[in-house]
């Protein structure tokens, strides 16, 4: 069984980190990656994409909020059968002052989480399709 990423270019696996872009003119980071033009209206950069460079985000943050899904979502979500509930957390990264959503690793329920709790980024299996595991970024309680 091979491991593949569920989306190209949004995160690295070793080490686990979100990968976006950052404006070299004003410093604003973007996730998901923005290659079009810096979106800060006050930025004096070229705004043709040449001002945007790859950027790796910090990997620890605080839970802004969290919720779980108790019903199977419609496609294109690929659900195991039978459906397994999962948790999604919105996490605020202190350095970038950005809130990023991600699934929480399996085995952690809403009862194990709290707003303000420290979490860190990891990578886990989002779904399995035929022979391959598809990976995505996930949050887990910080060590």
């Amino acid at each position: 069984m091979a491991q593949k990423v569920a989306v190209e270019g949004w995160f690295s696996v070793e080490p686990a980190a979100l990968v976006g872009t950052r404006c070299t003119a004003c410093g604003t980071p973007y996730f998901p990656r923005n290659e079009m033009a810096c979106r800060n209206p006050g930025c004096a950069g070229a705004k043709d994409g040449s001002e945007l460079e790859p950027y790796t985000f910090s990997t620890r943050g605080k839970v802004w909020s969290y919720a779980d899904a108790r019903y199977k979502p419609p496609p294109p979500y690929v659900s195991p059968e039978p459906f397994r509930p999962y948790v999604v957390a919105a996490v605020e990264l202190e350095t970038e002052k950005i809130v990023v959503l991600g699934q929480v690793v399996p085995g952690v329920s809403v009862d194990d989480l709290a707003v303000g709790q420290e979490v860190e980024l990891t990578v886990g299996t989002l779904y399995t399709d035929g022979d391959d595991d598809y990976l995505v970024w996930m949050w887990r309680p910080a060590e």
């Binding site: 569920a6 989306v7 404006c23 004003c26 410093g27 604003t28 980071p29 973007y30 996730f31 998901p32 979106r39 800060n40 209206p41 006050g42 802004w64 909020s65 969290y66 919720a67 779980d68 899904a69 108790r70 019903y71 979502p73 419609p74 496609p75 294109p76 979500y77 690929v78 659900s79 999962y86 999604v88 919105a90 350095t95 970038e96 002052k97 950005i98 809130v99 990023v100 959503l101 991600g102 699934q103 809403v110 709290a114 707003v115 303000g116 989002l126 995505v136």
Partner: protein
Amino acid sequence: MSREIAVVGTGMHPWGKWGKNFVGYGLHAAREALAEAGLEWTDVQYVAGADTIRNGYPGFIAGATFAQALGWSGARVSSSYAACASGAQAIANARAQILAGLADVALVVGADAAPKGFFAPVGGDRPDDPDWLRFRLLGATNPLYFALAARRRMALYGSTSEDFALVKVKNAKHGAANPNARYRKETSVAEVLDSPIVASPLHLMEICATSDGGAALILTSMEFARARGLNPVRIAGLSTVTPTFPKTVIDLPDFATDAAMTVAEPARPFRADLAHTAYEEAGVAPADISVAEVYDLSTALELDWMEDIGLCAPGEAESLLRAGETAIGGRIPVNPSGGLASFGEAVPAQAIAQICELTRQLTGRAESRQVPSTPTTAIAVNQGLFGHGSATILTT
């Protein structure tokens, strides 16, 4: 020059799951609005449609579809897609035409026949589409986003599940008195909390359903209304502003907020800015508001909106709710129509339906759900996907 325009007719098709073509719902609503205005279809110079998707056809359709159903008359037309703010965009188009002197009489109409269950992205493999990707990579349905906001409120302000359920109890009571509402049954906190959890902390009865429905308005210039001897309700302000960078509140279908690393958060977040801009345009203040229709996609969201539009300070919505102040008969009734809790979503019709309700409240025609002492100033607000939203101020 006055920026006001007149609302001289309102019409609705009852919300429900009727299983018919959406055009019929819009037609019904348009005819009712024309009848209430005492005008003929051929008096209408401008048709502003709020769009829906006609499955099997590419694209979003509305304005001309209703014009055809009413009988091609040569009226000018526009169609607006802005998710849940589509109806408000249509009203804004009609208002601009009237204020510019290009038309005296406009029909605004929106209708939908919504699919059952979760809203889902359009089919096919579309990995460039954030709406497709949020389902694929996160399994983030609309209720999941509502639940994130609800839990955040609990953490910030100590809101409880009972508080959220009480919003539903209030709106269900209002909706029970509204012949156009889909759900017309009162409920209890216990019944709400007994319904299954969809996305904790929210229960099935706290999340709005998808519905069929239609709504329409006849809008005219103030001069036209006066010439007809009418003393109409006025649209005194209508804001459709976009967010200000950086947008720091997570909203569907986003994966992340803007980063506030290089530019400070704006003084007013998006929803508050929508309302603030409309207040400024109308020259009224939150303290002047005597009735509000806000976008209760979830129970918790109604409480957020109350604070965003300035009915109370952040964290105080629960105390108003518990004291009964947001029920009909209270100091500031919220969602006297029954809200989305009682109607469900018929996306293009919703923002128009809010104005139908408030017009009827301001003219004392809301029958058994009438807010006492006929209110004089009202606000309707909503938020759609992708940075769409609206706030509309009505005055007598």
